[in-house]
Amino acid sequence: MRLYRKEGDTLKVLCLPDEEVEKGDYLLVEEPERGRALLAQVIDVQFANIPGVLEELLRDSMVSCLDCGQDVDPLDLSSHLAYLEDARLLICKIRGGLLNGRLTDHMHWLPSRSRSRIRRLSTAELLELSGVGRELPIAIGEAMDGSKVQIDAKALDGSLTIITGKKGTGKSHLAKLLVLGLVRYGATVVILDLNGEYTRLGYSCDGRPNEFYGRVLVLKPGENFRTTLAKAGLSVMMNIMIHALSLPGTSAREFKRIWYHLSRHGSLTLEGLENAIRSWKCNENVRDALFSRCYALSSSGFFTDDPADALDLEDALLAIEGQGGAIVINLRDLSAVDRRVVVEYVLGKLTELLSKWILRAVFLFAEEAHLYLRETYWEDVVTRMRHLGIFTTFITNQPDTIRDNIYRQADNIFLFNFTNQRDLEMVARASRVDAETVKAIARELPPGHCLIIGSAARDLPIVVRVRRLDVDAMGRTRYFFEEAPATLKLEQEIG
């Protein structure tokens, strides 16, 4: 390999066909006598611009149109020509510098074209240099060269993370892997599970309980997850009323007064609320609004008047605090309104517990959060929540449902394949990596492969084939033609 050009932070390297380099690989451009090197990542592989190659290809096409031909080529020129025609130009982004074997930010120097030596750096060497995944390693999978890749659980701590890619590429699979990795290190994880695909995290592929069996609590709202108004508290209920059930301001004020009234009389129940609304002296429109919200609460099945039937989320969270565990909130089969009610309750409770330092910190995994998160929450994620100790991981196949500022503030992005230009443009707004890298690499990622961007990879983007997980996978797309019916096979054989 030879250095051809440097333009800003882009290197262009000439590479011959027998030199194996792929998109995503790292190259080390060394100047041994000066004890320094540049670390560059291949983001695109193009044909080298050999002068006259178009003429050659045109002639080849023309000759191949003739009916028959024979080349008497005693020097075997054709093989040398094919070798040259396949010469490649590697477009690389400089990711860092090396000074006396240590990774530095000093990368704004021009390596020598004639004296610099270029070699491919194995992922193992790269990880060794960067120190990725040394302290609390979570094994993610294998790099393209077969090296094991693990990230540091600490990289997710205090961080905002996005897992995105088009459907069927393995986002949920990676999310599960991260959840279990965090649980193993004693973290408290809450999962907002839209499709009920995390509910079997405690089981291995063969259906038997796995090592996480006792540490995964699956909560199904309306079934084993209910609460009373009293346990929810006014603050959480006000959020539910205003944000989940869109109660107007005037009605919300009346609701607050009713709440105080019921609280004073010790009848903070759904029945008490209904009776109070009926007899409350207020505008009829306000009464109607309050009634409709009361019915919504009641019909959600999430609220109960029987304290024995209610689950104390605080207790559940405290039970796993320290030893590590995951609470899966199964939102499957819930209506959109009920989903918002439940999520508002959970987030409200978490905020309450964290702000009182009852909980230390929570890792929140939210699948397709735009379907249940209120508008103002997005702002909270990048401002308030991380200071409170809620470290969110968004998982989505629609990157435009996540706001710009979330991408800009994201500490980690696990990017799976996208082919749509608009989707790529959206993800490319992330500040931890240049847009070219995102667009060039993500477009060609095979299913099950992701590009790790951000602090988890120490800002050295790595392509990883996500490892298999011995967990009962509920999130797989269900197919009709998974196995050809026996009759069809038989017909094919006969045919």
Binding site: I50, P51, G52, V53, E55, E56, R59, M62, V63, L66, D67, C68, G69, Q70, D71, V72, D73, P74, L75, D76, L77, H80, L81, Y83, L84, E85
Partner: protein, 361 residues
């Protein structure tokens, strides 16, 4: 008489004509080529000339036809008689310079059209490392084995060797075509003339071979230095629509120029509104047979911009592209350990963008 020494059998059975029993590629040619390059190991460096230095010195002088010159315009109609049309062209290029001499590559192409099917045979490239020490040996061996010229001669200076080797190789390729085809129209690139170069006298034997195989030979030149009646030859058909031939018949100052013409000279427009070309027809053929050969060319070959498609394809197939030159340099570097160095352009060094065609990357 042309006598080629052959060693490698050509795979010609696939081309729907019966190869003569002794039809082979001249292994001697390959042997001379390899022998010439055997001294390359110690050369170390191959200097690559700038592209505009590739053309060697020109040998062709301007010829002025004087005296009584008669011309005759002959309108052309395609003659619907089935013939194989054969185009022959060769290409040569200077690959680079060593401390001792030059490296020259040669390649030939023969393209033939029979009915609607078009086929080709490409021979080469062959590389020759020509030095002051071996140039006489190479020159005379090639003359002897390719052209059957037994007498030893002094080789021209190194600067003229690429052109001279190219001429020998071209004559050999033409001879091969004359040998392989019967009752066909052979179209060569260039005039049917013998110059004072010491090798082109083989052309007369070659034409004789062609005639003995019932072939008609036509030489087609894209440019000409002939001046007739005070006008450049190719301007004589200005304003005349094709297809037509303008036959030039007159006394030529052959003795003065040292050039012997073996063809009847024409200016040809082979298609309406096409470019004019110089067209020589084997002078030993009866005049009508020569004209009929051109008419059969019109009916049996595609004519593109007034130029026969077989000859156009032969040129395209034989010519060296820039990647091929690089591939040969790569082969030399791998096989003989030569290091390539591009020779600095002294004009550019001295004058920069002034007077060298402007600033370029």
């Amino acid at each position: 008489m042309l006598v080629a020494n052959h060693a490698i059998t050509l795979p010609l059975d696939a081309y729907n004509f019966s190869p003569p029993s002794d039809q082979r590629i001249p292994g001697k040619l390959v042997e001379i080529s390899l022998r010439s390059m055997s001294g390359l190991e110690g050369s170390g460096i191959l200097t690559i000339p700038e592209q505009d230095e590739q053309d060697g010195p020109m040998e062709e002088p301007t010829l002025v036809l004087s005296g009584a010159v008669r011309t005759r315009l002959i309108p052309l109609e395609p003659l619907e008689e089935e013939r194989v049309i054969v185009g022959v062209d060769t290409s040569s290029i200077k690959i680079g310079e060593t401390r001792e001499g030059l490296l020259i590559a040669l390649r030939a192409a023969i393209v033939w059209r029979s009915k609607r099917s078009c086929r080709y045979l490409r021979l080469g490239p062959l590389l020759f490392h020509v030095t002051e020490q071996n140039k006489d040996e190479i020159y005379n061996e090639l003359r002897r084995y390719c052209l059957g010229l037994p007498d030893a001669r002094e080789a021209p200076s190194l600067a003229y060797m690429p052109m001279r080797l190219s001429t020998i190789f071209d004559l050999w390729a033409r001879e091969l075509a004359c040998h392989l085809f019967f009752n066909s129209v052979l179209v060569f690139d260039g005039a049917l003339a013998i110059g004072p170069d010491g090798v082109s006298q083989a052309l007369s034997g070659l034409l004789e071979l062609a005639r003995s195989n019932d072939n008609s030979v036509i030489g087609l030149s894209k440019s000409s230095k002939l001046v007739v009646m005070g006008k450049p030859l190719l301007e004589l058909l200005n304003g005349t629509p094709g297809p037509c031939l303008l036959e030039i018949d007159g006394q030529l100052p052959i003795a003065q120029s040292g050039i012997q013409l073996l063809g009847r000279i024409h200016v040809a427009k082979l298609a309406p509104f096409s470019c004019p070309f110089r067209l020589d027809v084997d002078a030993a053929l009866p005049r009508d047979d020569g004209i009929n050969a051109v008419r059969m060319l019109l009916s049996n070959d595609a004519i593109y911009e007034g130029y026969p498609e077989t000859l156009r394809l032969a040129h395209i197939i034989a010519t060296f592209t820039a990647p091929e030159v690089m591939a040969m340099q790569l082969m030399l570097s791998r096989t003989y350990g030569l290091r390539m160095i591009r020779r600095p352009d002294v004009r550019k060094l001295l004058f920069g963008p002034f007077g060298t065609g402007g600033a370029q990357d």
